[in-house]
Amino acid sequence: MEKIRKVIPLNRVEGDLELHLEIEDNVVRDVRSVGTMYRGIENLMSGRGPMDSLVITPRICGICTTAHLNAAAKALDMAYGAEVPDNAQRLRNVTLMVEQLQNDIRHAVLLFMPDLTHATYAGQPLYGEAFRRYAVLKGETTLQTVKETKRLLEIIAILGGQWPHSSFMVPGGVVSVPAASDIIHCRHILRNFRKWYEDRILGCTLEVWGRIRSWDDVQAWLIAAPEHQNSDLGFFIRYGLDLGLAAMGQSHDTFISCGGPDLPARTEVVPEGDAHRFAPGGFYSARRTMEMDPRNISEDIACAFFKDDVPARHPYEGRTVPLDSEDDSQKYSWAKAPRYDGRPAETGPLADMVISGKPLFVEQVEQRGANVLLRQLARLVRPAMILPAVDQWLAEMAESRSPFYQDYSKRITSQGYGLVTAPRGFLGHWLTIENGLIANYQVITPTAWNASPRDSHGVRGPWEEAIVGTRISNVQHPLEVEHVVRSFDPCLVCTVHAMQIS
């Protein structure tokens, strides 16, 4: 049968993405993931004051704004040798994780689920209920999600001024000095969110979900109580299995994460693994998790609209020199190809789960490989893992006498990097300061990892690999491909770099 080429621009992803598909016999044989817009933010950083990164880099993305702020502040901490006192660390962690919490639910419900209400699935037994819950601008869960996540974000406004786009994290801590009454408000808001999450999304308490360690446990959980079946999680598992989402979207099965945020020196929050971080980072491949050394990260531009003398660079040496998009037919994206030790890697809630050794997810990756259902499952249950820590840190902030900021001496020539788990996965900022000004600034976003084009060895990026082999029922509208891509929670606004100076 003949090959069909189809270009689909995707919406309901942050930013602009096109997928160029080659389809034969209703199966995707090849794909190019194309970031279609270049905003040039890395380049407009050069020559600016180093603290400007705190204002500009949150504007890389409207939904992960706090994560970018955190990465920029950490890079400055390192560059200046600034120490972050305990209460500042707690405040940073709370705001970072609140942003994750709202994004996890907003993505799942507002960006991913609408695809499952497409008319193509009208014949499915659970279709009517999917429509009732998730129809765009109308679904029951949709309406609740908008209200509840909006309330949750008030925590970031109380502690940091506003959401999105504030700059309350600075080297040496945070600028805020919240009063005990502010912190009490935050805890009330968090408790409210937790109640809704347990009642509506999860269908059980965090403790009950925390006992699940295998797919057998999930099956048993589903039938143990009607609240489990009928929660959005329970519904998603049942409907997702009906639609075959567990058999879609297998990729390289390599994962990368930089782990949970740094712990304050004194805390009752119990870390998993590495004692200095809430959750360990790592690189997972062939059923093994290894320590993740950021020196092994490079960005390959073989298929990206940038030019350089070498095919790949570590971000400290990175540069962004754009080409006119028509110059070279091998190149097809405004996204560079991040590689760890030369290998592509997937990042996001599933990567975090696997790398921190959560038994259910490790088991499923080993048995079935990462897939659409598993990625969304990880996203839906991640709040269960982090809600208690957020509340604990708020409580500690109120009791502790630690300052929120500590002064330091600025260095005029220095380097630093900041690695953060953003809502969509592993985010890194790399900063070089020379003579008191930014000489180089490189950002690798989580979606850069996931949306990566091919590299100089021709190895596809994670979601390119996941899309190949997808069976499509209607070539005019490759809905199945959309499921695969959206399961990565794509954000193209971050991922296409801005460049250039001089």
Binding site: E18, L111, E154, I158, G161, P164
Partner: protein, 312 residues
């Protein structure tokens, strides 16, 4: 009859949409029902296939589908070299679609600073512009003389991001056929007729020139820490963010994000000054009088403020 609205992203971070999600009474979902607006397309939310979207665009451009309100969030990208190819749709540069749609719309709203003035990227090789301004200069994509079918210029709603109440309020006025009073840079005076400074809980410190030089304190940030509150307009301390707060209230200096030159070309977090007095003074203020006033204000400052003993 329901007014139609089409929401497109240019060179955008998506922040203006996520800011709109903070809206309360009506919230983002209720908004369209309350105002009787038919949302034809929103880049972040709509479920339409490519072909359906193309068909919609064709109908608007041919005149078959009425377009009442066009909202752009994000800048118009002209680079490289005016071709617009740094921001492509399958049919061609996105700026061409934006231009074509604008000429069919009854009202055009530039949501956010990037859409209004170019914002992030206005000084770089992506050649970002706003719809009718490039930073301080009128022109942008559509040209100084552009008027929509209703006779208005592009209505600029700057802010990085734009405050949700500004969008809700402006859409409410347009949906109800109420006139909008436009002031400087064609921004509605309802929200841009007040300085960011008005309503900041640190005002008492400001009044008595109790000024901070480092982070983590409670005093005013205007003299040394780069706060633009007294210099720029915006509803931040009148309407508040996320129902509760603002940057300046928690100690983050205002970055002047509603101004056409945002992001400024000189460093943030510091105030440029002459003889200890900021170079940029509030609009219309004479330097000599200001220096005298601030000198007396500092002398009159009560101990409780100097010692930062208030609960604010």
């Amino acid at each position: 009859m329901a007014k139609t609205i089409y929401w497109i992203h240019g060179g955008s971070c998506g922040g203006d949409t996520w800011s709109l999600f903070n809206a309360d009474t009506p919230d983002f979902i209720e908004l369209f029902d309350f105002l009787g607006l038919d949302l034809l397309w929103h880049q972040s939310l709509s479920v339409r296939s490519t072909d359906e979207l193309q068909a919609l665009n064709d109908k608007i451009l041919s005149g078959e589908q009425q377009l009442d309100i066009l909202c752009l969030e994000g800048s118009v990208i002209h680079g490289p070299n005016g071709s617009g190819r740094f921001d492509m749709l399958p049919a061609g540069p996105k700026k061409d679609l934006i231009q074509a749609l604008a000429h069919k719309a009854q009202f055009v709203l530039a949501v956010g600073t990037c859409a209004s003035f170019g914002g992030i990227g206005a000084d770089s090789d992506i050649m970002a512009s706003g719809l009718q301004f490039t930073k301080w200069e009128m022109g942008g994509l559509l040209g100084q003389g552009f008027r929509t079918l209703s006779g208005y210029p592009v209505i600029n709603l700057p802010g990085c991001p734009c405050h949700c109440e500004v969008v809700v309020g402006t859409l409410s006025a347009v949906a109800a056929d109420m006139p909008l009073d436009l002031g400087h840079y064609n921004t509605p005076t309802n929200w841009y007729g007040v300085m960011v400074h008005q309503g900041c809980t640190r005002n008492e410190y400001h009044e008595y020139r109790v000024e901070e030089k480092k982070f983590g304190e409670r005093g005013c940030l205007f003299f040394y820490m780069g706060c633009h509150g007294p210099l720029v307009t915006g509803p931040c301390n009148k309407v508040l963010w996320n129902r509760r707060s603002s940057k300046t209230r928690v100690g983050v200096p205002c970055f002047g994000c509603t101004r056409p030159d945002f992001p400024q070309q000189y460093p943030f977090f510091q105030t440029r000054n002459i003889e200890g007095i900021p170079i940029e003074l509030p609009d219309g203020v004479s330097r000599a009088h200001y220096m005298a006033y601030k000198g007396m204000a500092a002398a009159a400052a009560p101990k409780r403020l100097i010692k930062r003993k208030t609960g604010i």
